[in-house]
Point group: C2
Chain length 359, copies 2
Amino acid sequence: MTRFVDVPALTQLLQRKGVAPFMKDLADCLREDFLRWEDFDKSARVASHSEVGVIELMPVADDRLFAFKYVNGHPRNTAAGLPTVMAFGVLADVATGVPRLLSELTILTAIRTAAMSALAARRLARAQSRVMAIIGNGAQSEFQAIAFRDLVGIRELRLFDVDAAATAKLAANLVGQGLKVTICSGTADAVRGADIVTTLTADKQLATIITPAMIEPGMHLNAVGGDCPGKTELDRGVLEGAAVFVEYEPQSRIEGEIQQMAADFEVTEFWRVLTGEKPGRTSAAQVTVFDSVGFALEDFSALHFARDAAAELDIGSIIELVPRSTDPKNLFGALGIEAPAGAARKVPTPAGANLAHFG
Amino acid sequence: MTRFVDVPALTQLLQRKGVAPFMKDLADCLREDFLRWEDFDKSARVASHSEVGVIELMPVADDRLFAFKYVNGHPRNTAAGLPTVMAFGVLADVATGVPRLLSELTILTAIRTAAMSALAARRLARAQSRVMAIIGNGAQSEFQAIAFRDLVGIRELRLFDVDAAATAKLAANLVGQGLKVTICSGTADAVRGADIVTTLTADKQLATIITPAMIEPGMHLNAVGGDCPGKTELDRGVLEGAAVFVEYEPQSRIEGEIQQMAADFEVTEFWRVLTGEKPGRTSAAQVTVFDSVGFALEDFSALHFARDAAAELDIGSIIELVPRSTDPKNLFGALGIEAPAGAARKVPTPAGANLAHFG
């Protein structure tokens, strides 16, 4: 009834299909869903903020499927050996409300984000882009590197992270992946000469990772790390000098890099570029920015793609998250609870005597 | 890390603890949470409506725990042998975002609703109430009967449902429960002489199950079935002649019986009665109405109560819904995916050649 793809099951799915082919096929799936953008009931995420982080619910639906994602953002979790971002999601039938898939989305989010970034860069970066700087070498960086290798044609990476161990980890994980890797001494050094700059920093703060002085004509910026109120990576001057593309404008105005800009700062929703309604890059010298915050539709795509892949390989388990009732009106009977012998004796004293209990 | 209480596990929990004691203890838990009402970050549910039903997400949090519930409402599901309402929920730590419990909430919702109804009736119905009419004898009716028996002192039930089979099912399930059961020929017949009238009808429409002519002085109405826009059970004349109590006013104005009334129609949030800030019933002749729609805080209570009970009896299973990563920055490494032998050969042709693929 409901398929459950937990972390080990998703790992098995990625091992069986391969991370690179999985992301390539998912990118096709994302593209197909973004092309039918107007079929979806889109609403901004519901966020519950605390002093140390945020927990969000991101719902989206078309006329057949309802999906939502649970995701947290807790920058200090790393110190406790926990991921800063953890997620899971559900896909349900609109016609009956039956949940069809429960899946981990922590790994899947990193993968759909990388696939989405590469899909956008295919339209926004210069066609012959070969060199990419990756600023922030944490959990998402390997997936971005592989997606840009296979979907954009990136051959050389220039890495920087304030945490040298993170950069060493990324470089080690990329050995044998057919990418030339250079470890850089700072952001400016890494960005210099890059065709594409991907920012994946995680601090929940208004940061200025990329300044106008670092920008070169024709660069494409894939700004992934700034994705909630009070969290940005680009100097506003960078945005002022670029053509900025977003996923869902109402959400990006609140959560994206453009939260720094006036409400009338011009942006283009990326789906309009896919449909051909709006142009993408208009010249080789233009600076383009994909101000990515992660939109529920991307999780919708990831969930139904994962559901089909898991079903095809019969990965995961079938769980009874909701009752498989033969008589929906007899929830009680289905519990198989016998009437207590001498139940009458078990009936407590009258209400009056119990009032104190509820005082 | 995350405990999973599926339908069989919750059934086992109820069999081990007993439905009646479970509801009695849950009512205490509900009362404690309602007494600290102002500690909670309350938001109305997020609803996704379709022609045949609705799917909702109901979030609520205090400074320690975040909870949400997924619940659908599809009246026509019964014809397909599916419950009209199915639900599950999650409890997570606000400090880290780690999900601690995933639980079925279909059965648990019927139980928390009955416990909440009884908790309200303890304060709003006449102290010596002994006779209850139950209009609508579906999935929730047994739980309401047992909760009112143990928490309010009800000894006699008068049953009616347009579906005689549902009434027969309820009567059969209540054999040996120490309750005198009378099957009635209609709503007016069932309501006549009752101290408390519980309405549990399920049609998604503006219905008039209870009319002013049926009301007797001193009656308490436990109106549970009307719980979404366009779904009511009471004639507005009944509300005009009664003191009306609700869970969370902003939500009840949209979803409750009071959706029929003017925005300034006076209602009292029940928590204010529990704290003593507002009076409950003020005379033996007064007609009181608990206009119950089901509020997220009730699921919050049900979830942490179920979590503790399941942990105590070690019921359910531990699942890996999110990664137990030792190095949160190395999601990729944790996948255990080896670099492909001769990965370089696998690198596809440059972007230019692939553009057609992304058209």
